[in-house]
């Protein structure tokens, strides 16, 4: 998708200009600053496991593949939390993978789903503020995934 990659070019350009920071919108600053960081979170690393291939293949075709890698959606933003979580997942996945004992098709668990939902909100805060602002008062928040399940990859 050349269109998207060019977009990506633009996005990182803005990042360089630091406009994102100026605008002071956390989610996007984080995103823009990260262009390079993608390399450190190479999706291919996840797909070291063939069982992740389906997601990887679909991710390449998703609206997000130029803007969000696996870990942007599957690990918390906070630096330490992120690596702890990765470790947790990594460990869990390795065990599961080697033991081969896991539910198929693979399904996201409650913990990871919460992480992911959080990540949506962080990046899209500007867009969803309006629909989310009043949600604080509600005992349960709106699930993004319910409608946008496939933005990262088909399942």
């Amino acid at each position: 998708m050349p269109r998207l990659s060019s977009r990506f070019g633009v996005i990182s350009l803005i990042a360089a200009l630091g406009v994102g920071v100026a605008a002071g919108v956390g989610g996007f600053t984080f995103l823009y600053a990260r262009g390079a960081a993608y390399m450190f979170d190479d999706p291919a690393a996840c797909a070291n496991c063939h069982v992740m291939n389906e997601q990887l293949n679909n991710w390449y075709r998703s609206s997000h593949h130029t803007v969000a890698a696996c870990n942007d959606c599957h690990t918390p933003k906070n630096f330490f939390a992120k690596y702890i979580h990765k470790a947790r997942n990594g460990w869990h996945h390795s065990v599961a993978f080697t033991s081969g004992d896991f539910h198929e098709p693979i399904q996201i668990g409650p913990v990871n789903r919460r992480v992911t939902e959080q990540r949506c909100r962080e990046c899209h805060e500007p867009v969803v503020d309006s629909i989310d602002a009043h949600a604080a008062q509600q005992q349960s928040e709106l699930s993004c995934i319910r409608c946008h399940r496939d933005v990262g990859h088909a399942h």
């Binding site: 309006s130 629909i131 009043h134 928040e141 319910r146």
Partner: protein, 456 residues
């Protein structure tokens, strides 16, 4: 271009809205709310649009305004579209005037000026679902919603309507401080409590116990439901104490011995079903999948950098891309075709049901003319009452079966069976009608599939 675009998005986004005015629990006028939430207010105002779909939307039929009825246009008459309806409801106000429903903006005037008002005097209760009632109820009850409700219900309609100024407004669905959704309708507060009780949940309080997603359906369930007026206090009641499936509602009405009117030709103590969207929808696959009314009828829409709920509440077929395509990646034509296929099947059965019930009505009329006694007509009338309510349940429901396609077809199938049996009973005193089918359960030694435990 995109760069700029993103910039703009960000600025606008910085703060979704400014609170230009303070909203209180007495702020009834949506225009005032609109100062804080102009986008939602714009959508809200667009409910005046009249566009029709195959079975929904509405069609503007021009008319000469009179002082008796100043409306310059109404929605098309369903009685003219299907003359059988006049026989169907003969003797009841609905046989005089019944129109396709239209946008929320019209709810108050359409209720005031429907000829049903002349046909028979109506109580203040009617306003519960046709006006912005939160403030009027609170005022009338000196701060007690239920008291106010009980006070306005028994008043003559003309009296009660003096208290009402707007169609449903922001304050009827929202908390003015937090904008969180809230149920303000006594009918639903009590109805859902009775329903939950029937499911073993005591003293259910919807405003504190419902999830946000449930609220996105319940605010609509405040009005899009079957109802009746209980006792001389004309208390608005939703017949859900035994459940909300059509058979459970019928069981409830049998138990309280309610009838809406006596059919003019058939002499049957009949029931009228009214817009049971909430009830039928609840039996469908979407409800079962946690989809809410607002998901399809108020889908999110992009306004600049923000996403807001489209407050132009209308037929999703007029807004398929937002209403359906986030969840279903099929082309718009395909999604529309799926709805039409479901509606077409429902419509065929609805017409068979209508023919059967109308046929039974004519047979009953003949039998009465032939001097048959009420005792002799008992069975046929019992079948008529039941069959007509079931046909009406789908007829009055406004999605032509889409909200719960197989359930709608099942209801109509049962209705046809009962109506035809009524005709048989009239022609043959020895005919043994069967309310329930012979149910041969598969042999007990059934190995249920992994966790096949039936969910109700």
């Amino acid at each position: 271009a995109l760069a700029v675009n993103i910039m703009e998005k960000k600025q606008e986004a910085k703060n979704p809205y400014f609170r230009v005015t303070e909203l209180t629990d007495q702020t009834e006028d949506p225009e005032v709310w609109g100062k804080n939430f102009p986008l939602q207010y714009d959508g809200y105002k667009r409910t005046v649009d009249m566009v029709r779909t195959r079975f929904g939307g509405s069609e503007a039929v021009p008319r000469d305004p009179s002082d008796k009825d100043p409306r310059a246009a109404t929605a098309q008459s369903r009685l003219d579209e299907d003359p059988r309806l006049r026989t169907f409801w003969n003797g009841y106000a609905f046989a005089v005037d019944f129109r396709e429903e239209r946008g929320h903006a019209y709810m108050l005037e359409d209720q005031i000026f429907t000829e049903r008002q002349q046909a028979s005097p109506q109580p203040g209760t009617c306003l519960h679902c046709h006006g912005s009632m939160y403030v009027p109820y609170m005022k009338a009850g000196d701060g007690d919603l239920i008291k106010g409700f009980e006070k306005l219900n028994p008043l003559p309609y003309a009296e009660a309507r003096k208290h009402v100024t707007h169609p449903v407004a922001c304050i009827d669905c929202h908390d003015p401080q937090t904008l969180a959704l809230r149920v303000t309708r006594p009918g639903f507060l009590e109805g859902i409590r009775a329903l939950k009780a029937s499911q073993g949940v005591a003293d259910y309080d919807v405003n504190t116990q419902a999830t946000r997603q449930e609220m996105r359906t319940y605010v609509c369930g405040q009005c899009h439901v079957e109802y009746y007026f209980k006792g001389k206090e004309k208390r608005l009641t939703y017949p859900w104490a035994k459940g909300i499936k059509v058979e459970q509602i019928l069981e409830y009405y049998e138990e309280v011995g309610h009838k809406d009117w006596t059919h003019k030709q058939a002499g049957t103590a009949n029931l009228k079903a009214q817009h049971p969207e909430f009830e039928l929808f609840s039996q469908g696959i979407h409800a079962r999948s946690g989809v809410a009314c607002a998901d399809c009828h108020m889908p999110y829409t992009r306004e600049g950098a923000q996403k807001i709920s489209d407050h132009h509440v209308r037929s999703p077929l007029l807004n398929i891309n937002h209403a359906c395509q986030t969840c279903h990646r099929w082309p718009e034509e395909e999604l529309a075709a799926r709805v039409h296929q479901i509606q077409g099947r429902t419509y065929e059965l609805r017409n068979r049901g209508m023919d059967a019930v109308v046929g039974l009505i004519q047979d009953l009329e003949k039998a009465v003319a032939a001097g048959k006694t009420d005792e002799e007509l008992k069975t046929a009338r019992a079948l008529h009452r039941r069959a007509q309510f079931m046909v009406d349940f789908v007829e009055a429901e406004n999605s032509m079966g889409f909200h719960a396609d197989q359930e709608a077809a099942r209801i109509l199938g049962v209705a046809v069976d009962l109506a035809r049996q009524g005709q048989l009973a009239l022609r043959d005193p020895n005919f043994q009608p069967q309310l329930q089918p012979t149910n041969v359960t598969p042999t007990p030694r059934e190995v249920s599939p992994p966790g096949a435990a039936e969910k109700k």
